[in-house]
């Protein structure tokens, strides 16, 4: 039970953090992951609800979140808007926009009651009920499985494909790409769209699998935690995957503590954020030791 909860919780973190990683390594800090997840969650509910197919919901989430990514890309890459501010703006668009869309469709501003419920397809392993680990894995939504294969997929992308190579190059040395006859902005576009795609999936998991239905602001900071997990994972695929999974574990632990102890809810809920702060500090210390000499300020 605990493992399956962890898987369920970790999947959105992993996917969104991987999305942040792709964008970040291509040179775009995706602070809009929160908004992409939120709009993705709503789109998933609408898509699945009105079509009757969970996969359509997933697709809708991906498309809508990628659309937000495209907005960010257009404004940052072409109109040269400040990345962080444009990202915040996208988050605001998502906060307000989801409610407006919901309102114009259902007349409600709070949740998606009234829209038919949909659900993501689940993948079960036949006969796995009694095998310890597989049992928790079996019956998880397709997005959880996607989250699990996201690590090998990212590693493959990283080391074996052109796009991966270009993404790694784009964030570090734009000029190298240009000199090789490539267009950094295209690479960033691709990375951002992939980032949107992954965040959309993460949103769909929240609204079509972990819970069924959309509630305003239901992402509740998970996109920012995913961003933090990416930093915590030192901006590498494996590190990001581990850190994001760790937040899934942390969530589960916090839940256990809430149910079994009288620990203050606010303190428990702020643990992930404090953890990221600590990790940032320690990571900074490590980097500083490496580049000691030329200041400590990047």
């Amino acid at each position: 039970m605990l493992l399956s909860t962890i898987l369920q919780n970790a999947a959105p973190y992993v996917l969104a953090a991987t999305g942040c990683l792709l964008a970040d390594r291509a040179g775009v800090v995706n602070i809009a992951s929160e908004g992409m997840m939120l709009f993705g969650a709503l789109a998933a509910v609408l898509g699945a609800g009105y079509s009757g197919f969970g996969l359509v919901g997933l697709l809708a989430a991906i498309v809508v979140a990628s659309l937000l990514a495209a907005i960010l890309a257009i404004f940052h890459l072409h109109l040269r808007a400040n990345l962080i501010l444009a990202g915040l703006a996208v988050n605001l668009l998502a906060t307000g926009g989801t409610v407006l869309v919901l309102y114009s469709l259902t007349g409600r501003t709070g949740d998606s009651s009234g829209i038919p419920q949909g659900s993501l397809p689940e993948i079960a392993i036949p006969g796995a009920e009694h095998v310890p680990v597989l049992a928790s894995l079996s019956g998880q939504s397709i997005v959880v499985w996607l989250a699990l294969i996201s690590l090998p997929a990212t590693l493959y992308l990283w080391h074996r494909t052109r796009l991966g190579l270009y993404i790694r190059a784009a964030g570090e040395s734009e000029s190298a790409l240009v000199e090789s006859g490539l267009r950094p902005n295209r690479v960033r576009w691709a990375a951002l769209l992939l980032s949107g795609l992954l965040c959309g999936m993460a949103g769909a998991q929240l609204s079509l699998s972990t819970t069924h239905g959309f509630v305003r602001d239901m992402v509740a900071g998970r996109g920012f935690i995913a961003l933090g997990a990416m930093y915590l994972g030192a901006r590498t695929p494996v590190g990001t995957f581990v850190a994001a999974s760790l937040f899934g574990v942390l969530d589960a632990v916090a839940t256990v503590l809430q149910v079994r102890t009288n620990f203050s809810t606010q303190i428990l809920l702020s643990i992930p954020y404090v953890a990221i702060l600590l990790a940032l500090f320690l990571n900074g210390q490590r980097l500083r030791r490496v580049r000691r000499g030329i200041g400590g300020v990047s």
Binding site: T161, R168, E172, S173, G293
Partner: protein
Amino acid sequence: MVATTRSSIGSGFSVLMTNHDLATVEPHGAGEPPTGPPYRLEAVKLSKAYGQLTANHEVSLRVTSQSVHAVLGENGAGKSTLMKMLYGVEQPDSGQIRLDGVPVKLPNPKAAVAHGIGMVFQHFGLVPSLTAAENIALGVEPGRPWRIDKREILDSIGALSDAMGLHVDLKRPVARMSTAQQQRVEILKALYRGARVLILDEPTALLTPQERRALFDAVRRLTEAGTTVLFITHKLSEVAELADDVTILRRGHVVGHGRHADFNTAQLVELMVGGRPVTARRAPAPLPTAPKAASFTGLSVTGSQGREAVHGVSLDLREGEVCGLVGVDGNGQLEFLEGIAGIRPVTAGRIEIGGVALRRWTHRRARAAGLGYVPEDRLSAGVVPAFPIVDNMFADRITYGGYRRHGRLDKSRMRSEAVRLIEDFDIRCTGPLQPAERLSGGNIQKVVLAREISRGPKVLLVAEPTRGLDIGAAARIHEALADAAREGTAILVLSSDVDEVLAISSRICVFHEGRLVADLVNGDEVTAEIIGALMLGSAEDGPADSPAASPADVAPPAAGGGA
């Protein structure tokens, strides 16, 4: 890593000794110069203007196949613009580019690469964390889009580098390579893309003399293997050493071209600077007997990687002396300078300026004690490009609480003093409020020097005073330094240009592997060859060969220095 550097330097060293012969070397493929077209690469009356400024005016260039062609000119003469047009970065306003006699259009670098033109920029376009192989193959990876063939990459690049004698560790990230190795990666990158015409943009700017030798050897091998090389430079010595043909640019016009052998040095200088006076080698300043300005005892300094880069170096400076600091890149001389400046942590030793020893050495304290500092990288550390000249000039004094009246900054006084300094240092600008980014490199360096000299430092540390500057600007800078020395400032100047050090120093200190291996009084007997040998660590040979070498204040450490 050390082994690689050494071997390449080793091969360069033997050539260094035959330096004098090279000046008279016949162009490659001796005999008749090619009489008619087709030339390998040809520029016909290329013109390019940026707004009001004409960068190139009907510039024509003919490059013979398999030759080394130098494009010579001062900064701002239009060399880079020409090369950018040849590489498709910039589009000519008019004119034509021909390859083997056939007109070609080069709308972008990709097209240039497709036509077999490759370019290596002065500052490398490499991705630090990618391996050499990944960098070389970037953009032209074999294999399908979703699967790069890594084996194929390694094999083909390996074969190429063997054939050209350009050896690098292909699996090592370029971030962990020396400048020269990175340059090799860049050249391989161009060749890997099928470049048969290779454009090198000031390829030696960041290299030590030894690395320069190795590069020149490689260029020779390339031309033998069929490549045509076009390189930009403003150093006459390089033209003498390497070029078969030369085209001289001045203010966007071609003012001379032909086989290098047809010109003598004086003619080249004349063409290049257009009759302006040029500083030749300055008579070495006499070693002053003035009192000590500073003394550094047993300094150990931490380098970039957290390792100790300078091991217990001691040095005294006298008022009014100009002490040159040389060494192969990465041998601790820069760390030594930055350690004294307080930019890097000094882990052991004692620093005294004006007889006062300071504890907890930081740059801020060093400045307060009377230290001036001209950093290596003038655009990022010397000035803030967006700030007006006046801010850049007095930044140091403002931060120490100067130029204040009634608690607020006295801007009018700063401005009027800036006007005076602009005159004194002959800074070409529209006024003290012009942002530094709109100044030329030489004038930016003058702003930095104006700041550092006008505060009247006891000791002035200067790193790479004229790197990338043209002859005229370099001369001004050298004059300013000499003036400061005459006023009694002790100057410690680091330069990777040994000729420059020889020209301006009264004394030369050579670093090798983090230690001071020689401390020579500059004189006619001290030559680039001797310094070069010392930089390679042959502490026994250098001073022994040179009768002028006097025992230094600091004895060179026991043979070889030990590691």
